[in-house]
């Protein structure tokens, strides 16, 4: 199942510089693992937004919840999750 996930990280950005750099390094390492597992499919920055928007895939809400809670930044963030369903236009085009 696909999910659109918008993670707000303003409390992370406001950390002292060194703590921020360490947390970001651990976060990116975990991000690469999730990407390799096909759970984190792609990620974008939104200009001006303290956070990111990403396309995630998981068997179900449990797997997605586990993945999000495995992020080192998890205790300091809030994430808005939108479940995505196939659009019939894409099925017609053959790209579902």
């Amino acid at each position: 199942m696909d999910f659109l996930v918008r993670i707000e990280t303003s409390r992370v950005s406001a950390l002292p510089a060194e703590e921020y750099r360490d947390l970001l390094a651990r976060e990116w390492a975990r991000g690469q693992e999730l990407h390799a597992q096909g759970i984190l499919r792609t990620l974008w920055r939104v200009p001006g937004y303290q956070g990111n928007v990403g396309l995630w895939s998981a068997r179900d809400a449990d797997e997605l919840a586990e993945a999000l809670q495995s992020l080192p930044i998890w205790p300091l963030v809030t994430a808005e999750v939108t479940p995505l369903a196939t659009h019939p236009l894409m099925t017609r085009i053959g790209q579902a």
Copy 2:
């Protein structure tokens, strides 16, 4: 009476690790008591949400207020409570 209760816990997640673990252990112990009393009927996580959604049952608002304020995390959370009434469709189906 049934209530849908959405508890937001972002201030709990941001606690120092040890304090968080201790509070969570006490919280789960209390949760099990409330579940045994039939007040906390079931609980879900919402992927990405710092908190939970649950189905609670109480004689009235007083009993629900007492139960929520008995939670060790209570001073740090806010909870949105929606009173639930029987739906006539469920009465017709015989599942009210």
Copy 3:
């Protein structure tokens, strides 16, 4: 997968009486079918709210989208869908 679904129906309630009664009859018939299929698990009224709150289960977002769009009232409503994940407390209690 479980979903909490809050359906707002103020545009349905405002229909002329006869049209409302006919639509409601067809809606309840469809509701019973979805309940029999285990997709609509339970439904509540919320006092004062023009709509309902329900617990739905579906293989994934596609099946849920199809079920919601199969409701006769669908063109006149908006629904807020919250994906639900198992809570570890319920797993510990053995009720996940």
Copy 4:
């Protein structure tokens, strides 16, 4: 159980004058019945607000839902319901 109920009636006020007068007459008649039954305890206007705020009492959410849906204006309104619990200060003062 006590409930604070805020009923928004802007769609009622916008009805053609005659239809409005007839609906209001039926609404007040029903209001008096509910007051006599002790369900509608008191009602206030809020200056500038198209609607009212009231203190309602009911055995539970079912009885409150039935009472609200019995109002002639029900199909055209939305109501925000807040369950009220006893405050310990009032218990101490002896006025709970």
Copy 5:
């Protein structure tokens, strides 16, 4: 004049325990004085809400502002005040 007053106290609940108990004791003492003066007529808890809802009466906005600012918790709270006007239905029923 009657006012519906909703006081949000999440910053009070988050105080260290001892400071909280002391502030609460002073707050209840002041509450009892205001109740004795007929300014604080009644107070409710709202299950899950860090705060309270109350019915206050004062000559005018000045007297209400003074009463609210006299509360020991005042510097840490925000209050939403709704002026209440008599409802003609209550006048008709003779309970205005």
Copy 6:
């Protein structure tokens, strides 16, 4: 007592031209009466806003509610009323 009153009139502006002109004429006539009685003290436009902001004075919420409901545009508008209390700085300056 003084009140800040923000009246939103977008449903009035959208009326057919002739109906709008007639309603506006009656509205201004009533406005002049309320001004003469000292209830409507002053009125401003807000550039771009379909409505107005005004300073109103009334004995209490009842008198203000009556005045607002006496406006010919009343059935089509919503008004946000803020009760105003004397500011100690103005008392010190002698302008309260």
Copy 7:
């Protein structure tokens, strides 16, 4: 440039059935053209939401505005557009 576009279509769904079918057919035809041009890259349904979420690509805001305004449903919808920037994690993974 990539954009996340959330199009709300509740006014379209509420059209009379025949008008809706005709508009939808023209809309899907236009959607296929935009997809063929690489402007509409992919589209999802969101269960319960009257509308869609899609990934669009355009040279700049002008091209995106033209594409959205070319949709037959355009006069009846509102769209929320979020510009997307490359995320450094994806650059590191080599998937930007």
Copy 8:
């Protein structure tokens, strides 16, 4: 004085085609006059938004209110006006 003005026109877009074309022609004619007078300095579309964002200049709020109310679309729109003040950085750069 400069103002940032965001005009929402969804009620205009939903007009019948012919009425829309006529209104738009009159609107653009008026827009060109205001631009020639230096009141409407520049205008942008926002992709997906039913309306526009513009930079307006006027002696004061009165002149701006008159200009906005002179727009043929005025009765069907709402506009959000933000007064703009010189930024000291621009003064330093010599571009205020």
Copy 9:
């Protein structure tokens, strides 16, 4: 030009008592200067609101911005500014 200014001061109220008293004294001194200059015309408290509502006059947005930023409490507050235009009713009554 007149402006309605709503200043929110909850971060000021939460200061330690002594720091609060000192800041308030400097704030009132500055307030009296601005009042004497005719920039701060009048100020009200809003019962329950941590802040104030005031009527300010300034040549333009620059002068208003300077005046607000000259307030000792400025770094800890946010202010909502509404530009006010003359209302034709007041011009007709001769009170514009």
Copy 10:
């Protein structure tokens, strides 16, 4: 591509005075660089608002994101970015 960027800086204003002055000096230096590069075209203050509104230009969202994240105040702010498209009226007037 042009963007309207609204940067909220209340966490910057609340810094200790010295830290604030140092950060502001570095911020203005960076602002002048961005202005010289044509990325930051112009900037306004909004009376009462802890932040600024500006007109920015960048090849695409990536360049804008980099520019915003290069600001010394970036870790403490949030920015709302609106992509701007040419308005046909300006094209007609020859000012696009």
